[in-house]
């Protein structure tokens, strides 16, 4: 199974609005997800300038799907959803 790509925006706005709190994923990955995800810090993905505004930040992309006002909780839920979906497709 390919690793799920978690891109945490580290543009100025997202960073100030709380991206570092999600970066904690790099240091304390839930055990069952450790070998299934790849977390990267990326430069501004321009979600803030495309109408949404920095107020909706921090933005995180999980396999290309954008999460607004991202929190650790939201990101982990999204990852688990994707894993569950993939497993279903396998069956």
């Amino acid at each position: 199974m390919e690793k799920i790509q978690v891109k945490i925006c580290a543009g100025t706005a997202c960073f100030v609005m709380g991206a570092p709190q999600i970066q904690a994923l790099e240091f304390s990955t839930p055990e069952d997800l450790a070998d299934k995800i790849e977390v990267t810090e990326v430069r501004c993905m321009n979600h803030c300038s495309q109408g949404k505004g920095y107020n909706k930040g921090p933005f995180v992309e999980v396999n290309g799907e954008v999460i607004e006002e991202a929190t650790m909780e939201k990101v982990i839920t999204k990852i688990r959803d994707l894993i569950a979906k993939e497993e279903e497709e396998k069956c």
């Binding site: 100025t12 100030v16 709380g18 570092p20 970066q23 904690a24 501004c44």
Partner: protein, 483 residues
């Protein structure tokens, strides 16, 4: 303490951004719309209702403008008017931490409680070991009489079923000096006389009820509404606070209107030099040990709460002091703004005529966002002065002692010890050292666990920031090899 990953501290950053934005938009003319915009009618409230949420947001905004909730004399006074008052003031208000009384949930008084896991056993060690006979058996279970309990915790230690729990009050537990206490209604209050401004209460309150007076508006006002030259003094912990090259951060500061940016790590080099000389002198005089002095929260704690330790605390000034002194010598007419991770620096600055304002990394972060500046797009700019590797290492636990050790090598014996985090336990330990002496002769004390990179004014994850500081240290030159 609460992990740095929670909604309360995220809200603090958001409020700061909103205040900056409101300043740029219309000089706070429409500031009163912000609490409503953040908690609109159909929003899920964080507390009992959106109306209480909005009321608390107003107090948060007041704090960001430099007013504590206690300064409210007229409840009808609008944010717009607070904003205007902030823009009129010539000197910033005295820094202080304060409790938003309506946000404080008045946690139950810290106590021990017997849970349902109690089996009412035959041995009853809790009853037998309680020194105040506060425990009796009611309906076949142990029960603690709160009027007799002195919170010694013996019952928790001896219960074979781990049925006794301690209900903490997070802010009181976090405060190393007992400066935050409940009033008769259970609401917390901070004693300004004994507070060391470390900010641990602010970081630990799960309701985000603690705020501090910001100087953000004062600095924005200076930059945009006066022709004064405003210079930012960047604390060494800045490396790693923004996920960009440090020189780009310098560029971004210039873009938002700072005329010049100096590196406080250059002041750290002076501190290391003076502290090393002082250490050698004290050891030759036969003193048993010396502690560092650059953490302002610890310095104040020693002064107010551990007076017996005072003779052992170094008299050397902090990196901020030396950096500001150098700056004011070169540019006597400038306004100096220290930018760092620390809340206690605000109190230190009050006694330092060369430091005019103090901001946190979080506050300058909010300035970047509110002004629409993307650091990644900024030109790289250089610091006026270059610091040594040792000066750059100050914000990590062990960094200050390391810098002094580097300079005293070969002169006197150097046995360093780190006090990493000023907890209640570590204060006891320091008291013991003061009266009974210490095995080690150089005690480095940092109030924040992990060092300044874990300060309450930081944005980045401490672990990640530490790595970046280490890289920056590696690029520096040994202080011994500098002229």
């Amino acid at each position: 303490m609460l992990i740095p990953k929670n909604y309360a501290n995220q809200m603090r950053s958001r409020i700061l951004v909103k205040v900056v934005e409101s300043f740029y938009k219309d000089r706070f003319e429409s500031a009163d719309e912000i609490p409503i915009e953040m908690r609109p009618k159909d929003y899920d409230s964080s507390r009992c209702c959106i109306y209480k949420d909005r009321a608390i947001l107003k107090y948060r905004m007041m704090a960001a403008m430099g007013f504590t909730p206690q300064e409210e004399t007229n409840e009808a006074k609008q944010l717009k008017d607070y904003g205007k008052e902030a823009l009129k003031r010539q000197n910033h208000a005295k820094s202080c931490l304060a409790v938003i009384d309506i946000a404080c949930s008045a946690c139950v008084k810290s106590q021990y409680m017997v849970t349902d896991a109690c089996r009412g056993c035959f041995a009853r060690p809790c009853v037998m070991n309680c020194p105040k006979q506060a425990i009796s058996i009611i309906n076949g279970r142990s029960h603690i009489n709160p009027d007799l309990c002195v919170s010694c915790g013996k019952c928790l230690e001896v219960c074979p079923y781990h049925a006794v729990v301690k209900l903490p009050v997070p802010c009181e537990e976090a405060c190393p000096v007992g400066a935050i206490r409940k009033d008769e209604h259970g609401v917390e209050h901070i004693n300004e006389e004994t507070c060391i401004s470390c900010g641990k209460c602010l970081q630990s309150c799960p309701f985000g009820a603690i705020v501090e007076r910001s100087q953000l508006v004062d600095v924005l006002n200076l930059i945009h509404n006066t022709d004064k030259k405003v210079v930012a003094m960047l604390a060494p912990a800045v490396v790693g606070q923004f996920p960009f090259e440090i020189n780009q951060v310098v560029g971004a500061l210039k873009k938002i209107g700072f005329d010049d940016v100096v590196e406080v790590a250059a002041g750290a080099d002076v501190t290391s030099k003076n502290e090393a000389a002082e250490f050698i002198e004290r050891m030759k005089e036969g003193k048993s040990f010396m502690t560092t002095s650059c953490c302002p929260a610890y310095y104040r704690a020693a002064e107010v709460h551990i007076p017996e330790l005072k003779p052992f605390v170094s008299n050397t000034k902090t990196p901020m002091y030396y950096a500001a002194e150098m700056l004011k010598k070169e540019q006597p007419d400038c306004v100096s703004v220290f930018v760092g991770p620390c809340l206690a620096k605000r109190s230190e600055a009050e006694y330092d005529p060369n430091v005019d304002y103090v901001l946190t990394f979080e506050e300058i972060g909010a300035m970047f966002v509110g002004a629409g500046v993307e650091i990644g797009d900024c030109e790289q700019a250089q610091f006026a002065k270059v610091s040594s590797a040792q000066g750059r290492n100050y914000p990590l636990s062990g960094g200050v002692a390391g810098a002094v050790g580097n300079l005293v090598e070969g002169e006197v014996e150097f046995r360093p010890e780190r006090i990493d985090g000023l907890s209640k336990e570590n204060i006891k330990l320091l008291k013991k050292y003061a009266t009974k002496g210490s095995e080690n002769n150089m005690i480095e004390v940092m109030c924040c666990e992990g060092g300044c990179i874990a300060g309450p004014g930081c944005i980045a994850l401490a672990k990640k920031a530490a790595r970046q500081v280490e890289t920056y240290v590696a690029q520096g030159v040994n202080q011994k090899d500098m002229k």
